[in-house]
């Protein structure tokens, strides 16, 4: 501990923690940029990373919606599905606006066009759902979004004539590159840059006045609206924003970038709960924390197929082996549940939070909490301090 303190002081005195944090962050980014060029790594790890980036977008946008804006939605996967399904259906069937007599054949729609339309439709549905959700708080909101997402999944499954049912729907290929190795490289960079762009956009929103208003509303909606925050507008806006982000990510990921088809099972509550668990483990109130949490968890779930623990002191197992082999296939989700529950109870801000605070040199979320508890009666003051 004393050594730790000395190192800490030395860093504070020389470059400062903040700067060190930025250096670490840029090093990590550089590593990810360099990674596909590492010849010793197989294509398989690129696949793992690509899906890691996708789930990082999902988890961090959920963190923005739930952690920062306080809207506890279980419908995130459904909006991803809307983006992907709409993009797929449009690329296959074209657009038919019967009322106006307009019909655009699928040949006139490029993969990019389909993805953009998918994103916009996800945003529009988000607008409607976000508006309906205004009346609901916490548990009711969670229940409503579960119902919405289940309804969507059942429809995608049942109307198999249009959606392909459980066989799934193939989207139009976004990148048409013949060479598999090159294609994987391009897919990797595409997904990585999508993650970076989404994170930057979300940080911009979270740090803008809108983000501050959202935080204020999360803590005390009535007080915030009394202070003149247009609660309605911001709540809907953030819902639409995150819906579009996941719609875009879904449409791109399933356009044969990460996976060649979207299936309704992907929209099950289980998949949504995994996203939530990633965000919780990484830190619900930090976008980068949630993203890193998702990435690390995906990696761990991939890596955890056989655990071998060498036994100490010459101990042997029943069959004479000196190693204990554990195949956690059946247990890894149970373990995941334990980690989630314990993180929530004892490390509310996620397992990565201490690192983030240490690097940033201050204790943001804790201070917020303490001030609330101290000024329970005088909430508006605390809010004013927060938004100033």
């Amino acid at each position: 501990m004393a050594l730790f303190k000395r190192v800490e002081n030395a860093i504070d005195a020389s470059i400062g923690r903040r700067r060190l944090g930025y250096i670490a962050l840029s090093l990590i980014t550089l590593y990810f940029l360099w990674f596909p060029n590492d010849a010793s790594q197989s294509d398989y790890y690129k696949t793992v990373f690509i899906s890691g980036f996708f789930y990082a977008i999902m988890a961090s946008s959920w963190a923005l919606l739930a952690g920062i804006a306080g809207q506890f939605s279980f419908g995130h996967m459904a909006f991803m599905g809307i983006g992907a399904y709409v993009a797929g259906l449009i690329a296959r069937d074209g657009i038919l606006v019967a009322a106006l007599g307009i019909q655009v054949g699928p040949d006139y729609i490029s993969a990019v066009g389909a993805i953009l339309i998918g994103t916009i439709v996800a945003g529009l549905v988000g607008l409607v759902i976000g508006w309906l959700l205004l009346r609901l708080r916490s548990a009711y909101l969670a229940l409503f979004t579960i119902a919405f997402s289940e309804l969507f999944r059942i429809m995608m499954l049942t109307e198999y004539d249009y959606t392909g049912g459980s066989n799934g729907l193939s989207l139009r290929q976004l990148l048409e590159i013949a060479d598999v190795g090159v294609a994987r490289q391009v897919e990797y960079y595409l997904m990585f840059f999508l993650l970076i762009v989404c994170l930057l956009a979300m940080y911009w929103v979270a740090n803008s006045p809108i983000g501050l208003f959202l935080r204020a509303m999360r803590e005390d909606e009535d007080a915030a609206s009394a202070l003149g925050v247009n609660v309605v507008r911001y709540k809907i806006a953030i819902f639409v924003f995150t819906s579009m982000i996941v719609g875009l990510a879904g449409a791109i990921f399933y356009s044969d970038v990460g996976s060649e088809r979207i299936i309704p099972e992907q929209l099950e509550v289980l998949q949504m709960s995994l996203i939530i668990a990633y965000a919780v483990i990484g830190g619900m109130e930090s976008l980068i924390g949630a993203a890193a949490g998702a990435f690390i968890c995906r990696y761990m779930l991939e890596a955890m197929r056989k655990v071998v623990i060498g036994l100490p002191f010459g101990m042997t197992t029943a069959d004479g082996s000196t190693e204990f082999v554990w195949e956690p296939g059946a247990w890894r989700y149970a373990l995941f549940g334990v980690v989630t529950v314990f993180t929530l109870r004892w490390m509310r801000n996620g397992l990565l939070y201490p690192f983030i605070t240490w690097f940033s040199g201050r204790d943001i979320a804790m201070k917020e909490t303490v001030s609330i508890r101290a000024d329970d009666e005088a909430a508006p003051d605390a809010l004013e301090g927060g938004s100033a």
Binding site: A66, G70, F72, L132, R135, L136, R137, S138, A139, Y140, A142, L143, F144, I146, A147, F148, E150, L151, I154, M155, L157, T158, R218, V269, L270, S273, I276, A277, V280, A330, W331, Y333, A334, F336, G337, V338, T340, V341, L344, R345, R348, T369, I372, R373
Partner: protein, 515 residues
């Protein structure tokens, strides 16, 4: 498809759009010429111009020009009425002539429901009348009687009692039923003379399974009423209750048989209290460790924390059970050795008969268990000191504490008892359904529907809600014109009701205001 060129068509095609364009252009000028304090936003004027121009032509526009203050009253309302009428006319004209009644359901019904739900509560608030339940009644009424609802509820702003909703609800249901009779005459729900029997059969199916459903939902509602949280681990506790009963019966029968030397199998009814006790302890311990800090003020944003922590707990239970019990379906012996109860076919008149009605024996038995347990719970809550303590805590935490009730213990008790009820319903259902570690997921979705419908926190509400959900699922699956969609969308029917209740009346049928 004949396309007769009568006046309506001409209007729709030419004059309507023309006048709408005129209205769009002219009306904003009318607004801007008024003094500042009467100014109306331009967008609103544009919308009003389009609607009134389309529906009423020059008359509508001139009305606005003369008296813009009428915008939000008579003219706009008349415009909407006519626009809806014309739009539905237009659709009728270009589609099958048989369709108008379907259109009423698909387009006009929901549309009027939306319009009524938007405007009527505003009117109530404007005249400062009590607007409880108005939203629900307006939506149901709009669906059932269309624009007439404005006549009923607009000017007088009568006090809305539950009777209004029942009346409108039944009227709407009757309309849907009539539609079926017209458009799907071979549907078993409307094909005489069997339809009475069939509807009775489906309603009985719904009541039986609904009562069983409600037992589980009661636990959820109990937890909510005392703690103000929704347990997302409820489905998994239900599932694990079934497994505890299963293993108790398995090992218990085995041990007894070995001890006595005679083949003995324990009736699954004994598994119910056993599963209840075990899960009560699990629930109580979980509450002490993970939920208590929440009430001690150690955790910010309590309701989100509660959702997440119970959710994670359920996740853990489900996958631990999967790892231990395996994915193979299990089931215990039956409660009673009667396959089904049959009410035989009775000839009432020469061409009218009733029956047969079949109820599966074990389900009837499980329903009785459900009713007994729910009434036992009600007795406990009403008549015992502890039960009254629970109720007092649910009504006013501070006041209850003053009278010597320990709210912390009441929290633990409520979560334990809620979990216990879930487990007991699991143990009551494992003789009926094949049991796998993921059975909880579907069942708990239904419980949420039930508690929200009945009103979170109300025990009788959960019973009524359960029966309603059971009947809706049975009738939905039984009466949908396409049997395949009826079957595949069985759960979806309940989810639609759920979404509607959440939007129209989040407090449910018997609920009190949100915490």
């Amino acid at each position: 498809m004949a396309f007769d060129l009568n006046l309506t068509t001409l209007w729709l095609l030419f004059a309507g759009p023309l006048w709408a364009a005129v209205g769009l252009l002219l009306l904003p000028r009318a607004g801007s010429s008024k003094s500042a304090d009467e100014a109306i936003p331009a967008t609103r004027l544009q919308i009003a111009g389009v609607i009134s121009g389309f529906a009423l032509g020059p008359l509508g526009i001139s009305l606005f020009y003369i008296a813009p203050a009428l915008i939000r009253r008579a003219t706009l309302a008349a415009g909407i009425v006519l626009a809806v009428f014309l739009a539905s006319q237009a659709l009728v004209r270009v589609t099958d002539p048989q369709l108008p009644s379907v259109l009423w359901l698909l387009l006009a019904g929901p549309l009027w429901a939306g319009i009524a739900a938007y405007f009527i509560p505003r009117q109530y608030r404007a005249v400062e009348a009590n607007d409880d339940n108005v939203l629900t009644a307006a939506a149901l009424g709009g669906f059932a009687i269309g624009p007439l609802i404005f006549g009923l509820m607009w000017k007088h702003s009568p006090k809305i009692s539950r009777d209004w909703m029942i009346a409108f609800g039944s009227l709407g249901a009757w309309q849907i039923y009539t539609l079926f009779a017209i458009h799907n005459p071979s549907n078993p729900c409307v094909a005489a003379p069997f339809h009475i029997t069939y509807l009775t059969q489906q309603t009985a199916n719904g009541v039986v399974i609904g009562t069983i459903y409600s037992l589980m939902a009661v636990g959820l509602t109990l937890i909510y009423s005392v703690q103000g949280i929704v347990s997302f681990a409820h489905g998994q506790l239900y599932m694990v209750g079934g497994y505890f009963s299963f293993y108790f019966l398995l090992f218990g029968s085995d041990a007894l048989s070995r001890a006595t030397g005679v083949e003995i199998s324990i009736n699954p009814i004994l598994g119910i209290p056993v599963a209840g006790v075990i899960v009560f302890i699990i629930g109580a311990v979980f509450e002490r460790v993970f939920l208590k800090p929440m009430h001690d003020g150690l955790i910010e944003r309590v309701s989100e924390y509660a959702i997440l922590i119970t959710f994670g707990f359920g996740f853990f239970i489900e996958y631990t059970t999967l790892a231990i019990a395996g994915p193979f379906p299990q089931r215990t012996d039956r409660f009673i050795e009667i396959r089904r109860f049959t009410f035989p076919r009775t000839q009432i008149t020469d061409d009218f008969f009733f029956g047969p009605i079949n109820i599966i024996g074990d389900r009837a038995f499980a329903m009785v268990i459900g009713i007994v347990l729910i009434f036992a719970l009600l007795y406990f809550l009403q008549r015992t000191w502890t039960g009254r303590g629970l109720r007092a805590t649910s009504q006013d935490r501070q006041a209850a504490a003053v009278t010597g009730i320990n709210p912390t213990n009441m929290n633990t008790l409520s979560f334990g008892m809620g979990s216990m009820l879930a487990a007991m319903s699991g143990a009551a259902l494992i003789p009926i359904f094949a049991w796998v570690p993921w059975v909880g997921a579907e069942m708990v979705g239904r419980s949420y529907v039930i508690v929200v419908l009945g009103g979170l926190g109300s025990v009788p509400g959960a019973l009524v809600g359960g029966i309603i959900v059971g009947i809706v699922e049975a009738l939905g699956a039984g009466c949908h014109p396409d049997p395949s969609r009826g079957a595949a969308y069985k759960e979806a029917f309940a989810l639609v009701i759920f979404a509607l209740v959440l939007l129209l009346k989040p407090t449910g049928l018997f609920g009190r205001e949100q915490h």
